[in-house]
Subunit: 155 residues, 2 copies
Amino acid sequence: MRNISDVIEQYLKQVLKESQAEAIEIKRQDIAKRFECVPSQINYVINTRFTVEKGYLVESKRGGGGYIRIRRVILHEKQDVLASLIDILHDHPRLSEQLVENMLVRLFEEGMLSEREVRLLYHLLSDEALGLTAEDRYLIRRQQLLALMKLLSYH
Amino acid sequence: MRNISDVIEQYLKQVLKESQAEAIEIKRQDIAKRFECVPSQINYVINTRFTVEKGYLVESKRGGGGYIRIRRVILHEKQDVLASLIDILHDHPRLSEQLVENMLVRLFEEGMLSEREVRLLYHLLSDEALGLTAEDRYLIRRQQLLALMKLLSYH
DNA sequence: TAGTCAAAAGTCAAAGATGGTCAGAGGGTG
DNA sequence: CACCCTCTGACCATCTTTGACTTTTGACTA
């Protein structure tokens, strides 16, 4: 594994998988020690790898007895997944390639898109395919992702 | 071998062949050092020798833990179909919904897209989904259809 | 009860680590 | 000689790592 962030990401996902529960609680300090990095590195990993659109919810508490709780979001209804993704679309003015990818992968994990469809859509929505200005790309992505959600909602 | 680019090309192909995997991951810096050239030389080699038409796919990541991944792919046997569609794209400045539909259906008939994929793409490329001005829609459609062809050109 | 303190976790910006782009110089070949 | 590859380096973009500084919380104390 090339960088420490990836290693920590894998570790946390492993722990999450092994614990049957839908959430795990960690101590930032402990994880930082285990991987010999500064504590804020853990925040970086969480902010970039355990995002809402990827299907994770993170809560935490400071002070004595503090913790970081990472929760895998489980939504049973497809409509709920779509609704939450639409919310995310509205929350993010800048729809980066990364965000688009995260959302598409999420749809795959939820069984709403095939792997091939994800690749296909990701390529069409990439910076490279769209060209234009960043602002225009954000707009197109929003439009097309909304159209996608709409289509998937009455599959 | 007369120039360094050819040497690097051979080297990378050798590594690719020897590793059983279908992809290799390199560090631009390392290769540049090994052949005593500037890093951007590696980009030159990749851009001129490892193109999609030649059956290679290249992905990369910047920053800490960055890499360049070169993947061998098998070209789709229906290159002629794609080429003719690309010609059509270039011949038509105004890519109407109708034209888009025709092209997608053609790809379906050639077995290159599933029915669902056609529906999906048609929806995303529709006037309704795109909004904007007619001129902008033509542009986006061209860009995205070209990206689609490129993607379909290999397995 | 209010104040104090230490123990978490959070934020943010700078520094570090890679890879990408582009335009111009250099060189070989018809 | 002209033209097309190659090669180079300055400058850019992106992702990661680090550390100083901030905020929150709970326990202890006056």
